[in-house]
C-alpha cells in the first residue's frame, strides 16, 4: 500500500510530478456545509479542481411548483439561510411583477431597511467565515455573530423568527413595525460602525491577513462578466454593477449611496469591498429609518390565498448580499406556478472557483472558497 496515490486518469501524464488527488469535502471543516472540491495537487499546488455539489439538494423548485404562491414564501427562507429576508423580497418582487401588485411606500421602506440589515449580517459573517478558513480561531466570526445577535433580535421582534422570517407578502409585508422598533433599529445602526472599526482594527492592517489574501484568487473582470458573477465578487473585480442602482427597485432610487469597486479582484479586495459595502448600507439604513412614512403596509388588493395570476411570466431580481438573486416564474393561471426557477448567486459565483484556484496552494483554495461566500442551501436548493 503506497502512501502516494495516483488517480487513474492522471497517472502517467507527467512522471516527474505524480499528482495527489484529494477530495475536500463533503464533510470537510471548511467547505461551508456539504460542498466538495476534488482537487489534484502537485505538492500543495492545485493543478485541477472540480467543484461537486448537490449534497444539499432539497428539490426547492419542484416543491414550489406544487405549492401555492404563498406556500413557497417560507421555503425561500431556507434558500440562503443567512439572509431569509432578501430571499423573501426577491420572490415577492417576482410575484408582484407577475400580478402587477403595487407595494405601499411604507412597506417599501421596511423592505429596504430589512434588506440592508440582512446585508450587514451576511457581510460581517462572511468576513468572519473567511478568517475562520484562514485559521483565525473564529474570533472575527464571534464578533460578527455578536453584532448579528442584535440584528436578529430586531428581526425577531418584528417578524417573530430570527432566521426563517417569512415576512414579506405579495404587495407589502405581513405585519407592521411594533412600537419602538425604529428606535431600536436606529440604536443598532448607530453602534454598528463601532463594530466595523473594531473589525478593521483587528483585520485590515494585519500582515498575516494581507499576506494570505493579496494577489490570491484573482478574478479578472472579463472572466467575472463572462461567467455571470455578480455581487461583491464582481464589484471586487472592478465592474460597476449593482442591481440596487441598475434597477432601482424598491425605494433605492431615493437613497443616496455609493458602490465601492475593487482594484485587483483578489481575496483582499473581496474582503475590503464587503467592509465598504457595510458602511454604505449603514448610510442607506440611516436614510430609510429617517424617511420612513406612515401608511398601510399591505396593498389592499393583495390576496393572501387563492392567488391565481394571469398566465404570463416574470423575472424578479434583487441585489442580494451574495449577488443577483433572481426568481423566474411562469404562471398558467393556476394556483401554483407552472415554472419556478431561482437564480442563486452563490451557485453562479462558484463556477469560477477552479479558475481562481489554479496555481494556488490548497490552503489558498480554502480561502478563495471562503471569499466566494456560498451558502449551500442556495447552491444546491
Amino acid at each position: 500500500m503506497s502512501a502516494r496515490f495516483s488517480p487513474p486518469e492522471l497517472a502517467g501524464t507527467d512522471f516527474e510530478h505524480p499528482l495527489l488527488e484529494v477530495s475536500l469535502g463533503p464533510h470537510h471543516p471548511s467547505t461551508h456545509g456539504v460542498f466538495r472540491m476534488d482537487a489534484a495537487l502537485d505538492g500543495e499546488t492545485v493543478v485541477k479542481l472540480k467543484p461537486v455539489f448537490g449534497y444539499l439538494h432539497r428539490n426547492h423548485e419542484k416543491i414550489a411548483e406544487k405549492c401555492s404562491y404563498l406556500g413557497s414564501m417560507p421555503f425561500t427562507d431556507r434558500l440562503d439561510y443567512m439572509c431569509s429576508l432578501t430571499n423573501n423580497w426577491g420572490y415577492a418582487l417576482a410575484v408582484e411583477k407577475l400580478t402587477g401588485l403595487a407595494v405601499p411606500e411604507r412597506a417599501e421602506y421596511i423592505r429596504v431597511i430589512l434588506g440592508e440589515l440582512t446585508r450587514l449580517i451576511n457581510h460581517s459573517a462572511v468576513v468572519g467565515f473567511l478568517l475562520q478558513d484562514m485559521g483565525a480561531m473564529g474570533t472575527p466570526l464571534m464578533y460578527a455573530f455578536r453584532e448579528r445577535e442584535k440584528i436578529l433580535d430586531l428581526f425577531e421582534s418584528l417578524t417573530g423568527a430570527r432566521m426563517m422570517c417569512n415576512y414579506m407578502r405579495f404587495g407589502g409585508c405581513r405585519c407592521d413595525l411594533p412600537p419602538g422598533w425604529i428606535g431600536q433599529a436606529r440604536g443598532v445602526a448607530a453602534k454598528f460602525p463601532l463594530f466595523l472599526d473594531e473589525f478593521e482594527a483587528l483585520l485590515t492592517g494585519n500582515e498575516i491577513l494581507k499576506a494570505r489574501t493579496e494577489g490570491v484568487g484573482v478574478l479578472t473582470p472579463e472572466l467575472a462578466v463572462n461567467a455571470g458573477v455578480t455581487g461583491p465578487m464582481l464589484r471586487a473585480s472592478g465592474v460597476n454593477y449593482d442591481i440596487r442602482k441598475v434597477d432601482a427597485y424598491g425605494v433605492y432610487g431615493r437613497m443616496d449611496f455609493r458602490v465601492p469597486l475593487g482594484e485587483r479582484g483578489d481575496v483582499f479586495d473581496r474582503y475590503m469591498i464587503r467592509i465598504l459595502e457595510m458602511r454604505e448600507s449603514l448610510k442607506i439604513l440611516d436614510q430609510a429609518l429617517r424617511d420612513i412614512p406612515d401608511g398601510p403596509i399591505l396593498n389592499l388588493n393583495a390576496k393572501l390565498r387563492n392567488l391565481r395570476p394571469k398566465p404570463g411570466e416574470a423575472y424578479g431580481r434583487i441585489e442580494g448580499p451574495k449577488g443577483e438573486l433572481g426568481f423566474y416564474l411562469i404562471s398558467d393561471g393556476g394556483p401554483n406556478p407552472y415554472r419556478y426557477r431561482v437564480r442563486p448567486p452563490s451557485l453562479i459565483n462558484l463556477t469560477v472557483l477552479e479558475d481562481m484556484c489554479l496555481g494556488q496552494t490548497i490552503a489558498d483554495a480554502v480561502v478563495i472558497l471562503g471569499s466566494v461566500d456560498i451558502v449551500l442551501g442556495e447552491v444546491d436548493r
Partner: protein
Amino acid sequence: MLNEIAFLLCATLTLAGAVAAMTLRNLVHCALCAAGAFAGLAAIYLQLDAEFAGFAQLLVYVGAVAILIVFTILLTRGAEIQPAASPSWRMGVTVGALVTACLIGSIAASPGLHGSPPQTVQAPVKRIGEQLMNQYVMPLEAIGLLLTAALLGAVIIALREPPKPEPPAP
C-alpha cells in the same frame, strides 16, 4: 552490574536497529530503525559520560539525519521497494568489508583489550569548546566550509524553475 545491563540494552538497541535497517522491506521502517540505532549509539556515548558527544549525536543524527533520510524517501518514491539485488552490490560489500576491517583494527588496538584499565577522560563542554576554537579551529572551519558548499550545491540542484500555471481557459 547495572552498568553492564544498561550497556547491553543500548548495544542491543543499536545492533538490532542496524540489522533491521538493513533487512526490512519497507524503506520508511528502515529509516526509523536507523534512527533507533542512532539513538542507541547516543545512549552508549552517554553511558561513557560523554555528554556532549551523546547529545550532539541525538541532535544531529536523530533530529536531522534521520529526518533527512525520511524526507528523501518520501520525495523520491514510494516506501515499498522490490526485493532485487542492487547492481552495485559488489561495491557495497567491498565498502562494508573495509569499514569492518578498520573497526576491528581499532578495537584490537584499544588499550581496553590489553588489560590496561581505560583511563577516564574528563571532557566538560567548556574544554571541548576551547579545544575546538583553538587547536582544531582550522579543521572546524574547513568542515564548515565544506558543509556550506554542499548546502549551496544542494540548493542549486533543487532549484528548478517552478512550472508556470497555465492561463485559465477563456
